[in-house]
Amino acid sequence: MVIVKRKELSFAERLYLPEIFRALSLTFRNMFQREITRQYPEEPLPKTEVTRGQPRLVELEEGSLACVSCGLCEAACPAYAITIDGGETENFIEREPKLFEIDMLRCILCGFCEEACPKDAIFMSDELELAGFTRKGLVYGIDKLRRPRAALQKRIDYVYRINDRWRNSSSTH
């Protein structure tokens, strides 16, 4: 426990005028210092693989989605942003989403869908900006969500890296 010291004002401080000059000198000194303001839309913050932007669906090399519409991301989403309807295809992996919508107005970019997905099919991209004229237009369907795997590769590697913790001990389970 420390008792904080209450200061009594000195005579100079009571006078107030010297204080004003001290403050002004500070203002002038600051005029010659490096600017710290960031002009946001022109100078955006650097985006790295850590940045959790909007979730995107992974598209495999063959052009099909990695998603098998298992519904785990839908169950994990705390904002009820995801709607999935599954369907069958002729591909080797037979299940594919018929409908996969993320309501970007509801999405809070928490990353729970990425964590829950057992098929590496949904990842957080570094796309952050969101604007539109209608609410409907901001409910993204498969066509707006799909991204080639290469575009998300950095994030995928990162997620694997931070998930590496049990690699060695996992055989015990």
């Binding site: 008792i3 904080v4 009571r14 049990w166």
Partner: protein, 415 residues
């Protein structure tokens, strides 16, 4: 020569009564609405002020404008999915809220957090405490007209947010704490940002003090305003810096250490008079002490490099990504945990010392996937309650310093 708290208190009462009598407009009551959109109310607090001239005769604090039903949301969402919602309670320190919630769940389920996870949590909590106190200082100063201080504080806070951005991927609403630990380990980049900043930060706090502690305007507008004496603080169950400013040495980090706080060397600052000025001094000192804890935590992290930071308890913690592909068992765990995370029957409450005071989640489980009851003990609500009694008989302009120094966030008060 210093006056005692009760002497000042008595003097204040007398002076206020005298002021009321001298006021030429005495006798004509006017009801004034301050807020809910007033910038000085720090959110959406509505104060119904009955004015007698410029003196406040009565104040009614009307809370609830930001009520989003968080407790009920918790009860309908389920255990793990509530984490992002805790971020939005006291939105200036999301990680501390995450941790408070996680601690209660862990107690309920009997999960052990690995050592490195605990150290990381302490680090995150202290960093959030500094960020929250910087917001207090910045916003209170701008309400009192000191714009320079606002920018000086936000410049420091910016670095904290850069650190959080580099570590968690978000600047606000981080959601990085999980049941059983934290989501990811601290990497080199973010450690570097934090270390460099911590080296300069104590000097920045000195600068703040140079700006304010001896500043006549700050002095006049805070000194002997809103005096809370020891008994009153206890009676109104105030907490956090407001309680310590009143001279009560109560800090949960010392009294009931959680997350291994007993390992860190830090002091709890307490005030003597209990006015706005004391609360300011306490918070400034707390920033210094928090910076000290951060340095110690970083050193401990250095020592435990490569250690576990997330529990391996497969009943509650998701398996790592790679294993889900390789093993059927892990895949089943993945499905089980995401869709149907159940906690044993019982109840738990683990309070933490957040930047505002005692923050805790009281959770009752009936053994299903959803909490039967979630009660959020938000320190801000208790602090708001003190506004009417503190402001009665004071000038309207004192209200601004009072609201600033009680330091509450409406997201948490109304929840």
């Amino acid at each position: 020569m210093s006056t005692t708290r009760s002497q000042v208190f008595e003097y204040e009462r007398g002076a206020a009564a005298q002021e009321l009598k001298d006021d030429p407009l005495h006798g004509e009551a006017m009801v004034l609405n301050m807020g809910p959109q007033h910038p000085a109310t720090h959110g959406v607090l509505r104060l119904v002020v009955t004015l007698d001239g410029e003196t406040m005769r009565d104040v009614d604090a009307d809370v609830g404008y930001l009520h989003r039903g968080k407790e009920k949301t918790c009860e309908s969402l389920g255990w793990a999915k509530f984490f992002p919602h805790t971020d939005r309670l006291d939105y200036v320190q999301p990680l501390a809220n995450n941790i408070a919630y996680a601690l209660s769940i862990e107690k309920l389920a009997g999960i052990q957090v690995p050592e490195r996870g605990q150290i990381l949590r302490v680090l995150l909590m202290e960093v959030s405490r500094i960020a929250a106190h910087l917001i207090y200082l910045g916003t209170t100063c701008i309400d009192l007209g000191a714009i320079t201080m606002f920018f000086a504080c936000f410049k420091e806070r910016e670095t904290i947010y850069n650190f959080l951005d580099a570590y968690t991927g978000h600047r606000m609403n981080n959601t990085y704490v999980r049941i059983g630990g934290v989501y990811a380990d601290l990497d080199e980049t973010s450690t570097g940002i934090l270390r460099t900043w911590l080296k300069d930060f104590p000097r920045a706090v000195d600068t703040f003090e140079k700006f304010l502690t001896g500043n006549r305007i700050w002095y006049d507008r805070n000194r002997n305003i809103g005096i809370i004496d020891r008994q009153m603080a206890l009676d109104w169950s105030l907490n956090g810096p407001n309680l310590r400013g009143a001279g009560v040495d109560a800090d949960l980090r010392k009294l009931e250490p959680y997350s291994g706080y007993e390992r860190y060397d830090f002091e709890v600052p307490v005030g003597t008079v209990g006015d706005c000025y004391d609360r300011y001094l306490v918070r400034v000192e707390e920033m210094r002490q928090s910076a000290r804890i951060c340095v110690q935590a970083l050193d401990l992290l250095e020592k435990t490099k490569g250690g576990e930071f997330l529990s391996e308890d497969r009943r509650y913690v998701l398996p790592p990504k790679g294993d889900v592909h390789r093993s059927m068992e892990e895949l089943i765990f993945q499905f089980k945990i995401v869709t149907d995370l159940r906690l044993p029957k019982g109840e738990a409450y683990v309070p933490i010392e957040s930047s505002k005071g005692e923050l805790g989640f009281y959770l009752v489980s009936d053994g299903t996937a959803k909490p039967q009851r979630c009660h959020i003990r938000a320190p801000g609500l208790m602090n708001v309650q003190a506004i009417p009694i503190l402001s009665r008989g004071r000038l309207l302009s004192d209200m601004v310093s009072l609201i600033g120094s009680l330091d509450f966030v409406m997201g948490e008060v109304d929840r």
